[in-house]
């Protein structure tokens, strides 16, 4: 039965209270551990098609008569367009339409960051469109931009309210502390740089529009574009069959989709608007920079008695302010916590969610600070974390639906125990060390989400749901869940997704929510089909339903009977068995979170400032694992992206003008395969008994969260140097080494004086 409930909905750490209609989730969870296909290592069902270039990405799409768009983007961080003449562009070769701020809301006459879209041209070819954009005549009144986040805080230039939080009494806690550490941490802007740039192809047909788009949320695009265009949602069809990376930046239509829609309307042709790599590096969203001024106090036995911080999120001109303070509030048991988060609004390109927004930045600072505290206390860093273990969510006194961080710590022990051995590898200028950092994050998903399944007379099943596979192996995981429940071989299940006109509503693929949101719906649909098959089989074989089951493509009875599934489904001829399923509610009154710990081994060349990551052991608790191989690849991807964030990636802007200087992949340095260390993945794989019929949480984001802190803490272990800002450039490494030297000299001096 459908139930109407009032519930909290969480995406990327942001909550809203919503009414929601949920279906009961009556299925019992499967027993823990690997099953027939669920929990096993399964290669991607679409891997071969991808390797062969057969998968259809938005970037591959060629429609008859399709036009290409080039966008005039502001070269100024803040300006006013005093006049704009599109006529020279309109008369350029191949041009079919040109639009400006008067024609489309996404185009502005008051650009407020470098890359803000001002005008757009559709032409027969992309180079014609580019050439035409060059001919647009613009008069700019250039204005003084606001670029400094601290200055924005002084001017109270914010994108949203300042977020203040306190529990207990921070000042009193500080008074009780025997040891206090304070530090300022900075994190840089990094760019998603998905292999497939942001893009959409819009095509008007039958008073409606079809949008092919590289997106993480088909239904979000449908809703946003229906509202933008004033259309009933069912007149907007959104298609995304294969997707070349999003990492949080492709949850919304951006500027390119409305621009393509408007140009398509004007020309009567399909129109592609695809960002170039340069636009991708400027105006497609980013992980915003942060400044974090933190304090931690503990009693001499290592009990945290005060945690506090001012967190400045340099959000950019728009976007939202992520909970950089989240880890400080949630990771440890501490009675006195006070945080203030300032969402600075600047004349810089807007942020977009990027793989655990806020928590990546906040965990770097908090977990480095905790190690500084451990050094001062003379307590082992792992032990310090155990002493302050949180048994419930202290922000609202809710129990965790499950938490196996203690088990993660236990499994980290043998790796952590190698500290002396690793340090002993130090030779000449190369100093070796080990560091660790914990991870806390969301990842429980939620309703609503639906799936259908149809089983044909051949005994094969097709899962139908309008979700998207953003490259994370969703098709494979959903096929595994359906095959497991139906008791058919994995090869007998196909998954149809990626089209809002073909299948029911499905969850966003963001916030590590795809598997926990969609998996239970798919299982429930498969269970519905299975129930019907067993009902038919009972009648066919004159047996009671309760003695029948489906296994390995056969109907089996408790008394040893066994028939091929097709013996029942074959009776259908062209008929089908249809199952439908829905995602049930999250456990009431409980906080659903993911946990983990990573241990990094690094080497630092103290003469040249080079940092080399030798190994990262990642141990995470994300409930039941669906595809052990796919999960491992998610962990590896997260760690590699984390290494880029930690060591080499930085979007750099000119400090005077706010112009983005790193627009190409030679200036913006992502790790190459040579920068990838040995990665050891261990997943605890204990189902969350309170969460859905699967007990699975999401894994997309957790692995990137502790990487920077684990590496920085390993650097401290190796050299004594305290890293305070990302990326850890040679310059930052030298600064930290010089400070460590000075501290050491001072310590020796003090010791000598005694």
């Amino acid at each position: 039965m459908a139930r109407l409930i009032r519930t909290e909905k969480e995406v990327e750490g942001r909550y809203e209270e919503v009414w929601i209609v949920v279906d009961e989730d009556a299925l019992d969870q499967w027993p823990a551990g690997p099953l027939t296909t669920v929990g096993r290592r399964v290669p991607r069902v679409d891997g071969l098609a991808r390797a062969r270039g057969q998968a259809q990405f938005t970037a591959d799409l060629q429609l008859p008569g399709m036009l290409h768009t080039a966008v005039l983007r502001s070269p100024y961080a803040r300006a006013r367009v005093t006049s704009l003449d599109l006529e020279p562009a309109r008369s350029a070769p191949g041009v079919r339409a040109a639009i400006g701020p008067a024609d489309e809301d996404q185009l502005t006459a008051e650009p407020s960051y470098v890359g803000h879209a001002v005008a757009a041209v559709a032409a027969d070819t992309f180079s014609q469109a580019q050439a035409a954009v060059e001919r647009i005549v613009v008069d700019w009144e250039v204005l003084e931009p606001l670029l400094d986040p601290d200055e924005a805080v002084r001017q109270e230039s914010f994108v949203s309210d300042v977020a203040r939080y306190e529990r207990g009494d921070f000042e009193r806690g500080l008074g009780e502390a025997d040891v206090v550490v304070e530090a300022e941490y900075r994190t840089q802007v990094v760019v998603h740089n998905s292999l497939e740039t942001h893009q959409a192809v819009c095509h008007w047909e039958d008073e409606g529009i079809t949008i092919y788009i590289s997106t993480q949320y088909i239904w979000g695009i449908r809703a946003a574009m229906a509202a933008h265009l004033g259309l009933p949602p069912d007149k907007v069809r959104v298609i995304c069959q294969a997707m070349g990376g999003g990492f949080g930046a492709k949850n919304s239509p951006g500027d390119y989709t409305p621009i393509a829609a408007e140009l398509a309307k004007r020309t009567g042709r399909p129109v592609r608007c695809a960002l170039t790599r340069r636009e991708e590096n400027v105006a497609a969203g980013n992980r915003n920079a942060t400044i974090q001024r933190l304090t931690a106090g503990a009693t001499s036995d290592g009990t945290l008695v005060a945690l506090g911080g001012d967190f400045v999120n340099a959000v950019g001109f728009s976007g939202w302010s992520a909970t950089t303070e989240g880890p400080m509030k949630m990771l440890y048991s501490c009675d006195n916590v006070r945080t203030t988060q300032y969402p600075a609004k600047l004349n810089l390109p807007p942020m977009a969610a990027f793989r655990a927004p806020g928590f990546v930045e906040g965990t770097f600072a908090l977990e480095c600070l905790l190690d500084e505290l451990a050094v001062k206390l003379g307590v082992d860093p792992l032990e310090l974390r155990r002493r302050n273990y949180a048994d419930s969510d202290l922000t609202d006194d809710r129990p965790f639906s499950s938490k196996n961080l203690a088990e993660c710590y236990r499994r980290a022990e043998p790796h952590w125990a190698k500290r002396d051995e690793v340090r002993a590898r130090s030779q000449g200028p190369w100093k070796h060390g080990i560091g660790l950092a914990s991870q806390i994050w969301y990842g429980g998903g939620g309703p609503p989400s639906y799936a259908w399944i149809r089983v044909g007379s051949d005994g094969r099943a097709q899962v139908v749901t309008a979700m998207q596979d953003i490259g994370t192996g969703t098709r494979t995981a959903m096929a595994q869940i359906a095959a497991e429940e139906l008791g058919v071989p994995l090869g007998h299940v196909q998954v149809s997704l990626g089209d809002s006109a073909r299948g029911p509503f499905a969850s966003i693929s963001a916030g590590s929510s795809t598997v926990p949101s969609m998996g239970p719906a798919v299982r429930s649909a498969a269970a519905d089909a299975k129930r019907q098959i067993i009902e038919i089989a009972a009648q066919r074989f004159h047996l009671e339903e309760r003695v029948l089951d489906l296994r390995e493509g056969r109907i089996v009875s408790a008394d040893g009977g066994s028939w091929p599934l097709t013996e029942v489904t074959g009776l259908l001829e062209s008929g089908q068995i249809l199952g439908k399923g829905a995602r049930g509610p999250n456990p009431a009154g409980m906080q659903v979170l993911t946990f983990g710990v990573q241990v990094a081994e690094v080497a630092v060349d103290v003469e040249t400032g080079e940092v080399r990551v030798d190994k990262i052991v990642a141990i995470h608790d994300v409930g039941r694992v669906i595809n052990a191989l796919g999960a491992e690849s998610q962990v590896e991807g997260g760690i590699i992206q984390g290494i880029g964030h930690t060591l080499s990636e930085e979007r750099i802007v000119d400090p005077a003008t706010g112009s983005v200087l790193t627009r190409t992949l030679d200036a913006y340095r992502m790790p190459t395969i040579a920068d990838v260390p040995e990665i050891v993945t261990e997943l605890v794989d204990i189902p969350d008994e309170h969460l859905t019929n699967l007990g699975s949480k999401g894994l997309g984001e957790p692995p990137i969260i502790p990487v920077a802190a684990a590496i920085a803490n390993a650097i401290r272990d190796a050299t004594g140097a305290e890293i305070r800002s990302l990326p850890i450039t040679r310059e930052e490494m030298f600064r930290a080494l010089r400070e460590a030297d000075a501290r050491e000299k001072e310590r020796r001096g003090a010791a000598a004086a005694v």
Binding site: G609, D654, R669, T672, R730
Partner: protein
């Protein structure tokens, strides 16, 4: 646009000089044209007329970096410089002649800012984002020369033969001046044909990068020992490849606030290179 395929060096130089450009591997020219930093109505494909291959001490200017890094006859400094440059794909296309003529990676220059090196009034890096910039020769322009190979050839004291002349590789480069903002002395219709190497007793190239592969040098240090004399040349530290008279000459660096850290790296690499060429042979 027109693409010419001349059949002799004379024909090629005849076609060059009036705004046309020589094309070899294309790994630098094509991106520069695509980015609008370089305009040419005519491209002269010189691959058929510039020598390619290695014969003893002589290297055809059309030889790719990939071919050089594999040849055991080539001095270590040059081989290591080739092997640590760019990516395998780029090294398979890019020629040594073209590599010597590549432009700076200065982000202001690459993005077409109206900077001093482009003929404008000011160097934006001097008050701007400058961590990749110069520590020497940066009075007017703080750009850094990116060529690993040029530093190696400079340390090796190689000789260039062009369609016009023969000269030491050091003379290929000049610090840009108020009147002439070029960083090379090559005439528009002059082609590099051949490089003649010396035979050092030992040589090496050490490179500091932001990641382990496929990055331009933060600092690259080439060292070549001839008897008791060692020549050092640096990449990534000045608008042109920089010959360092001695390790002590690093004291004379004129870094920007954001580039001072490069001196420390250079010191370490010069020390290591000195040590490496002291013992090793070839």
């Amino acid at each position: 646009m027109e693409l010419l395929r001349p059949s002799s060096a004379e024909e090629a130089t005849g076609a060059l000089g009036n705004g046309s450009r020589a094309l070899a591997g294309g790994t630098e020219l094509v991106p520069l044209m695509r980015d609008g930093l370089l305009k040419a109505e005519t491209l002269v494909d010189v691959r058929g007329v510039v020598p390619r291959g290695i014969a003893g001490n002589r290297i055809g200017a059309g030889t790719t970096l990939a071919e050089l890094e594999l040849d055991a006859q080539i001095p270590q400094a040059l081989r290591e410089a080739c092997a640590q440059a760019a990516s395998p794909q780029l090294r398979s296309m890019g020629t040594i002649g073209g590599n010597l003529l590549q432009a700076t990676r200065c982000w202001y220059w690459r993005l077409g800012f109206d900077c001093w090196l482009h003929g404008g009034e000011k160097c934006f890096a001097k008050d701007g984002a400058q961590r990749e910039h110069a520590i020497f020769g940066n009075e007017q322009c703080a750009s850094a020369h990116p060529s690993d190979v040029a530093a190696a050839l400079l340390a090796l004291d190689a000789t260039l033969r062009t369609t016009r002349r023969e000269f030491a590789v050091a003379e290929l480069y000049r610090l840009p001046t108020e009147e002439n903002r070029n960083v090379t002395t090559l005439a528009p219709d002059e082609l590099v044909l051949e490089i003649e190497l010396t035979t050092p007793d030992a040589s090496t190239y050490l490179k500091a990068m932001d990641r382990r592969k496929w990055a331009f040098p933060i600092v690259g240090v080439a060292a070549a020992r001839f008897g008791s004399e060692t020549r050092f040349a640096l990449a990534g530290v000045a608008p042109i490849p920089w010959l360092l008279d001695s390790a002590a000459a690093l004291d004379d660096a004129t870094p920007l606030p954001g580039t001072a850290y490069k001196i420390e790296i250079a010191r370490a690499l010069v020390r290591r290179a000195t040590h490496a060429v002291k013992s090793a042979s070839r």
